[in-house]
Every structure is written in structure tokens, then in C-alpha cells.
Subunit: 210 residues, 2 copies
């Protein structure tokens, strides 16, 4: 599908939201939904929804709406959720613990290793997964094919950890450190920058109060 | 400044990044920088940088570049960082702990209260701030003027907590629950949706491998 190549980041960023709402509709046993009703639920216009979903193929029928289960499955496929992903967490502090505790398993996502430099943490378990010495990360990556590395270390160590993950074959980096990582072109980085999110909130808050 | 009214979300989302890089330059005792060099550091084009900063006023001089300290101060002012913000955290689980431990104080941001429903946590301290019974939140908000509420509770409780915060005068919501909150127009919500971030990563990762 040639169409797929030119999908904007804005559309891609909206897909997980579609995914979440469609799962919710399925849980509520809704079989079909119009783009208008789906739009009202999500907070997009009907035309936005039709436009977004058209990027990926022909979903829905005029005057009938979308088959919820079918659309949900297709979006899962587009998102790559029909595969399994193995991941490691580097940094077992609060953020590392938070994401280890999060129920991502439904997304076909499994943490197989957690690494930290703190001797007090090494050997403990988080969600049944042992915390290992960060010095063994390199070896671990040699023995295990890992898709995604979550970087939850202080900013000063983040690039070093990133380089080690990439050397070990990891191609997806989920970065929580407040730093822009430098990576080769075949590596994908998704940042969760908490202080930038907070600054955005503060900016919008004061604008509204002006 | 009439100009300010029409600033796109895309520009606003980039401001915290400017803020971070300029602070770094100041720490490294860099006095001035051209839009080209700043662009190379941040990963934007020089023209993008000039365009962004022009939205907010006349910064920089042709052939001279930007005065780093001045630009940094002006961006801090634009971001609203010249004020103090009082915040509460609702939910003292891993995410709540992670953000309580984060060094946001530099941003003029202070947590004055942390609330949870778990009797085992109530009375404990996080970063010197006592964890209080969530049933006392309403009263606390009556007695204290709070600007921002961080919602770190499970999704099923998030809207209820949000309503309570808003009733208590909070106008900025920093939401970590995987749900789109319904709020009045004068309230600002900034979401950190971890599973949507992870889904974006997985999508981009598989696209690159196709």
C-alpha cells in the first residue's frame, strides 16, 4: 500500500486513541458506530475521523458506519499489535517501577529484564522480573533478542545506556530521560519528557488566566 | 501583544525544548548563539527557529545571533516560569512517587499536598510532603489555593478526582490516567498517556522494519 508511506505524525499520534476508544466500545458490546458518534466520543469531527481512517484503507460503509470489532482489529494490525515485543527497562527507580507495573502485556509487550546500578536493588524482583546488574546488560543483549529498551536513568547516563542498547541490537528506544538522544537512522526513539509536558501545562494555564 | 493569540500548539510544544537547551548553553557559559547553531543543537532548521521565536516578539539581531541569557529569560517569561505554582498529587503509587521525586522546583513548581486512599500510605512522607487521606482533599482545597493537580490514580477514579480538583478551584490538570477527562473551558488539561506513547513507538518501529 503506497498510501501508507506518507502518513503524517499527527495521524499516527491519533491512532492509539482510536485503539483505546474502540476497545472500550467492544467492552461495552457496541457492534457498530458512525463516524459522527465516534467523533463525539473521541472529540474529533466526523470528517477528521473519515480522513484519518482513509489513510490506512477503506473502512466503514456509507450510511452503515464502522464495524467496531473489525475496525479495532485493523487498527491493532496497523499499530503492529499482532506481534510480540520483548523489552528491557534500564533504571529501576520510580519511573522504571511505574512502567514495570503498568499493564502493557495486553499490547503484546513483555519486559524480560530490568537493569540498575544500585546494589541495593540488584537481585530484587519487580513484577516477577529480576533486577540485574547494569554491567551485565551487554551480555544479556547478546543472549536475548530485545526489541525495545526503556531508558529510565538520570539524564547524564542516558546516552551511554542508549548506545549500549543499540549496540546490543535494540531498535526501539522508549526514553524517559530529559535529553534528546542521538541514534542511527534505523532506530526509533519515543520520548516521554515530563518537564516539557509540565511546562506546556503551565504555559497554557497562564494564557487562559491572562 | 495581539500576535500571541494565534500561536499554534506545535510552536508551544517546542518552547520547553528551547528552554531546556538555552539553560544548558547558560550552564556551559555560552553568551550568544546564531539561529543556525541553535538549530543544529536542537535539531530544527535555522529558519524554523527564527519563525518560532518571531511569534513571541523580536529576538536576536541580524548577523549577531541571540543573546543566550536574554532569550532564555524571555522564554521563561513566555512560559510563565516567573511565577510560583502550587500543586497537589492525587495518587501516591509509582507515577505519583516518580513525579514527586522529580526536580520540578526549579520551574517554580511546588507540591504542597499528596493524597491517596491506601491507609498504608497515609501519614508517610514523600520528599518531605505528607501523604494525606484522599477524603480530606476537598477540605484541603478549601484552605489552600492550588494551581495544578496531578492525577495519578487508576483510570476508573480519574474523572471523579478531576471533578473534585476543579470544584476546589484547581485550573490546571496534569493527567497520567489513560482517560480523556471532561473539564470546563477555563480548565487546562495536559495528558501524559504512557500506553499511547508506547503504541506510537511500536508503530514506528515496525514501519521501519517493513
Amino acid at each position: 500500500m503506497e498510501k501508507k508511506k506518507n502518513i503524517s505524525m499527527a495521524v499516527i499520534k491519533r491512532l492509539p486513541k482510536y485503539h483505546r476508544y474502540l476497545k472500550e466500545l467492544m467492552n461495552n458490546e457496541v457492534d457498530r458506530i458512525s463516524s459522527k458518534d465516534l467523533g463525539e466520543k473521541i472529540g474529533f469531527t466526523a470528517s477528521q475521523i473519515r480522513q484519518d481512517l482513509n489513510c490506512f484503507g477503506d473502512f466503514g460503509q456509507q450510511g452503515y458506519g464502522y464495524n467496531v470489532r473489525e475496525l479495532s482489529n485493523q487498527i491493532s494490525n496497523i499499530l503492529g499489535l499482532n506481534k510480540q515485543y520483548k523489552a528491557v527497562i534500564v533504571g529501576a527507580g520510580n519511573i522504571g517501577q511505574a512502567i514495570a507495573n503498568y499493564k502493557f502485556t495486553k499490547l503484546g509487550f513483555e519486559y524480560t529484564g530490568i537493569f540498575d546500578a544500585n546494589p541495593k536493588l540488584i537481585g530484587m524482583k519487580m513484577q516477577g522480573v529480576e533486577i540485574r546488574d547494569i554491567d551485565t546488560l551487554k551480555e544479556y543483549l547478546k543472549d536475548n533478542k530485545i526489541d525495545i529498551g526503556s531508558i529510565c536513568v538520570p539524564r547524564i547516563n542516558a546516552q551511554k545506556v542508549c548506545d549500549e542498547l543499540i549496540d546490543g541490537g535494540v531498535r526501539g528506544i522508549w526514553n524517559f530521560a530529559p535529553v534528546d538522544l542521538i541514534v542511527p537512522k534505523d532506530v526509533t526513539v519515543e520520548n516521554v519528557h515530563l518537564s516539557e509536558s509540565l511546562l506546556t501545562l503551565i504555559y497554557l494555564l497562564q494564557k487562559k488566566q491572562e
